[in-house]
């Protein structure tokens, strides 16, 4: 461990705001990159399922 206490770890030698902000933004970017395609997938599947049902009713 590079830090003596948890408070010191949070403070990052006075640079806490910069460090945690960077890591927070990185986490946010990653979460968006995963959630976005997963939601899109659900949307595509439900849209296509609806379309297939409609086509079945017509025939």
């Amino acid at each position: 461990m590079n830090f003596e206490s948890f408070a010191e770890f949070i403070d990052m030698g006075g640079h806490g705001l910069y460090v945690w902000l960077s890591y927070g933004i990185a986490l946010a970017v990653m979460v968006i990159n995963v959630v976005n395609p997963l939601m899109h997938k659900r949307q595509i599947f439900s849209e296509q399922a609806r379309r297939l049902r409609r086509e079945k009713q017509k025939s």
């Binding site: 461990m1 590079n2 830090f3 770890f9 990052m12 030698g13 006075g14 640079h15 806490g16 910069y18 460090v19 902000l21 960077s22 890591y23 933004i25 990185a26 970017v29 990653m30 968006i32 990159n33 995963v34 976005n36 395609p37 997963l38 899109h40 997938k41 595509i44 599947f45 296509q48 399922a49 379309r51 297939l52």
Partner: protein, 250 residues
């Protein structure tokens, strides 16, 4: 295609959307596990165990996000241009889909690189932003990504959209060596590359080993989100085919 088989078999298999969908389905869980392992290890190592820099103190820890994001933003661009070129030359649909999927991921990584750079610049250089060669060429990279995304959504025909974005991506490829050598060609505030193929890193191993872990983690992460987007794109474009129909109706 059966006529000229001078390329390996897997190259032609890659051209089959269905084969790609199946293989990415098998690869995804492996890469999810690899991503979690490397990123969690790397982050804990970077934040708590790597030593602080003797000049920059703990703000140096931003490097563990900034460098991998910058490397990936450029690798992603090269993949996008390569896939675009393959799509242009062999008219391969899957390559077009790969190129299209790259753009939003690359844009988000370029933003992450620029934002973490700005946050790092404040305590280190005393300024959020300077019009320096490295920073400016990285900003141009972001604009290239945004241009590709805009072009993709502006053109109705998938084929035409793929062709025009491929040309844009290939023209923009000239920016990649500019980013790389900007720190050598111009006087700059930005420090030179941490990793080079020819020399050992200038920083001690306790610092660069976790960085390497993070870079590998980012590559694995990219593979995961890339496959997620590619699979969506395949389903979307192959929706009329029989195998997608059975996949959807279950």
């Amino acid at each position: 295609m059966a006529e000229n088989k001078w390329l390996p078999r897997w190259f032609y298999q890659l051209a089959s959307p269905r084969w790609c969908y199946d293989i990415t389905g098998k690869l995804l869980p492996i890469f999810v596990i690899l991503t979690l392992l490397t990123l969690v290890t790397g982050t804990v190592w970077a934040l708590a165990f790597a030593p602080a820099d003797y000049q920059q103190g703990n703000s140096f820890r931003i490097i563990y996000i900034h460098v991998p994001a910058s490397i990936l933003a450029q690798s992603c661009y090269m993949l996008m241009a390569l896939a675009g070129a393959i799509g242009l030359i062999w008219k391969m649909k899957v390559a077009d889909m790969v190129a299209k999927s790259c753009a939003p991921i690359g844009a988000s990584l370029a933003i992450l690189s620029l934002v973490t750079g700005a946050i790092w610049g404040k305590p280190t250089w005393g300024s959020w932003w300077v019009w320096d060669a490295r920073l400016t060429s990285m900003l141009i990279l972001l604009f290239l990504y945004l241009g590709v995304i805009a072009l993709n959504s502006a053109i109705e025909s998938e084929r035409t959209a793929a062709q025009s974005t491929a040309v844009l991506a290939l023209v923009g490829l000239v920016n990649i060596p500019i980013i790389k050598y900007s720190v050598d060609w111009w006087n700059t505030l930005h420090q030179p590359a941490t990793f080079t193929l020819t020399e050992r890193p200038a920083m001690p191993a306790e610092m660069w080993v976790p960085l390497l872990v993070m870079v590998i983690g980012f590559y694995c992460f990219f593979a995961v989100v890339m496959m997620l987007r590619l699979r969506n794109e395949i389903i979307q474009r192959e929706r009329r085919s029989r195998w997608v129909r059975t996949l959807i109706t279950g």
